[in-house]
């Protein structure tokens, strides 16, 4: 060994510590903001509650007691329905498509598997701003404007390419013999998919489901343009804390904190599965 292991460890842990500060400080600042009012924000800076400032619950009471309680509950419910709904729908449709593209050979006219895969992946390229105006007109004209159904379907389509990509590679990495055996045993192709392939591809499914949920939970542009009074989501509620009297940073921070809390729980519980899901499929 030419290098001193203690020196290496010191470097490793210092770099890790630096990045912990970079990753956490903005989040910490957001949480402290939710316990401040205008005076505490414009004087200061105050860093630690009870030590250098007395926390006030202005932002939180705005969400839970007075003022925006109904809007907050609605936004939370809408975000939950849209993100879980689109996550599940994208997972079902995307797994099926990914399985088909991995296990069968297609020929739609001149389109082969490769072309179909590229069609799906090319949807990733589409910039939302480039389609948002036509979509607005489509949604208004078709009655999907400001509905949870419209938002869920749209988020499903946006999430599909990533799901198909992860799941196709996930299925490619599984041995096909099990499914062939299932076919010999008299199962149909659908039975082989549902009973054999789907259960053992859980890592890819968890990873792709989480990615779609995170995207839909945090998406702003589509929600801003395609909803108004009833189907608005949490990011939109953040953006509407700006009024002629100024920006309600405390309420905004409280919404931000409340919105990230469920995802934090998901991150703690499923972090390992995200990496494992990508390991199984997409990165090979």
């Amino acid at each position: 060994m030419t290098r001193n292991p203690t020196w290496l460890q010191i470097t490793t842990y210092s770099l890790l510590a630096i990045w912990v500060v970079i990753a956490l400080f903005p989040l910490y600042w957001m949480v402290t903001l939710s316990f401040k009012n205008l005076r505490l924000i414009t004087t200061g800076p105050f860093f630690i509650p009870w030590v250098d400032f007395d926390p006030v619950t202005l932002g939180w009471s705005d969400l839970f007691e007075s003022g925006q309680r109904t809007r907050f509950v609605t936004a939370m419910r809408n975000s939950l329905i849209c993100s879980v709904g689109s996550g599940l729908l994208a997972l079902v449709l995307g797994s099926m498509a990914g399985y088909g593209l991995s296990r069968f050979s297609y020929r739609f006219g001149i389109w082969r598997n490769r072309d179909i895969s590229f069609f799906f992946l090319s949807q990733l390229i589409l910039p939302p701003a480039a389609v948002i105006l036509p979509l607005y007109i489509l949604f208004v004209e078709s009655g999907l404007y400001d509905t949870l159904l419209g938002m869920t379907l749209l988020y499903t389509v946006v999430g599909l390419p990533i799901v198909i990509w992860i799941m196709r590679d996930q299925f490619n990495s599984l041995p096909i013999e099990l499914e062939q055996a299932a076919l010999v045993d008299g199962h149909s192709a659908i039975g082989a998919f549902l009973r054999v392939a789907a259960p053992i591809s859980a890592p890819g499914m968890v990873a792709s489901f989480i990615l779609v949920v995170i995207f839909s939970w945090n998406e702003y542009l589509f929600s801003a343009v395609l909803t108004s009074q009833s189907a608005y989501t949490l990011p939109l509620l953040v953006a509407t804390q700006v009024s002629s009297q100024g920006v309600k940073f405390w309420t905004m921070a409280a919404i931000g904190t409340a919105a990230v809390a469920p995802l934090l729980v998901i991150a703690i519980m499923l972090e390992r599965h995200i990496v494992r899901g990508l390991t199984a499929g997409a990165v090979k």
Partner: protein, 322 residues
């Protein structure tokens, strides 16, 4: 991707059942904006000057016929040929936006990659409390970009009340973050990197964990140092997933809008504006739908050309992307 295709026998209908639902849903939502976009980019459609009858009552399919007639009429009455494209050629805000898009993609993404690679290598070592670090490093990716814009871009980097500016003022330094175009773009790249790095890091970490341990063991026994074994083995083995992550990030960077919209609004002037933001402001906020849609079409062609060139040059190394 060909490993695996055609290995299972199935009837036509069974095969269609797997792919058609995803295909039809995507097609239904994407086909209209595409066709509509191409047509409207040749019109002077404005929100106030061009009216539609709005939602037809009743079931979706019955409204479809009404809708097509409605829109065709509006397009016919506002047709102005190539006017939008001529306007674009002389529009300096449009050129700035294209330039900024390229900066965010080709300077911002390599920066994200270098930091993410460093973090992934750190996390892949034998460290204590690895789970803690992995969750913490993933967190920025979980926050809505709109909240990031307000909480970090506005509150933390505020030139009067932000903690950094205040501490600097106590030291008699005046800090400002967005007052010139260069600084605005720089800080936007940094804020965006904070959000994007976890995504790249997770992909690289997954790539590192998928690597064969035996090769590294053998190299270590042969006496290869850390530096050598990184450049000779880790980096080349990581190349496919690296390129995949970089191409994905470049694609996402072209869509970048919400952070910029909140933090600088594209300013000062148009200096930190991207195409997405410009299209959104022109089309949705100013209501100049014809011109914005024409820009969107040019934007789409630009993005497709760049991605096709990228895939053609490095794509062969990306085994799994398509």
């Amino acid at each position: 991707m060909d490993n695996g295709t055609g290995l299972l026998p199935a009837t036509r209908w069974q095969k269609a059942l797997f792919v058609l639902p995803a295909f039809l849903l995507t097609f239904a939502i994407v086909i209209f904006p595409t066709v509509f976009g191409i047509l409207v980019s040749f019109t002077g459609w404005t929100r106030t000057g061009t009216t539609l009858d709005g939602a037809s009552s009743g079931f979706l399919l019955f409204g479809l016929f009404d809708m097509v007639g409605d829109i065709a009429g509006a397009i016919r009455s506002t047709w102005n040929g190539f006017d939008n494209f001529r306007e674009m050629a002389g529009d300096s805000a449009f050129r700035t936006a294209v330039k900024n898009n390229l900066i965010f993609a080709f300077i911002g993404v390599p920066f994200q990659y270098v930091v993410a690679l460093g973090l992934a290598l750190l996390l892949n070592q034998q460290i204590r409390a690895r789970k803690f670090y992995r969750v913490v490093f993933l967190l920025p990716f979980m926050i809505s970009p709109i909240a990031i814009g307000w909480m970090i871009g506005k509150a933390m980097f505020d030139a009067r009340f932000g903690p950094f500016a205040r501490i600097a003022r106590d030291l008699d330094i005046t800090l400002s973050f967005y007052d010139t175009g260069f600084k605005a773009v720089f800080w936007l790249i940094m804020i965006n990197a904070w959000y994007a790095i976890p995504f790249v890091m997770v992909m690289l970490l997954a790539g590192l964990q998928a690597m064969p341990v035996e090769v590294f063991e053998a190299a270590r026994i042969d006496g290869a140092g850390r530096w050598r074994s990184f450049w000779d083995m880790t980096f080349p083995l990581l190349l496919p997933v690296s390129l995949t992550a970089v191409v994905l990030r470049i694609v996402f960077e072209f869509k970048l809008i919400d952070i910029i919209y909140v933090v600088t609004g594209g300013g000062p002037g148009d200096a930190s504006q991207t195409l997405s933001l410009y299209i959104y402001k022109e089309g949705y906020l100013s209501g100049d739908i014809g011109y914005a849609t024409a820009m969107a079409e040019v934007f789409l062609i630009l993005v497709i050309v760049i991605i096709v060139v990228l895939l053609a040059t490095v794509g062969r190394k990306i085994r799994s992307l398509y």
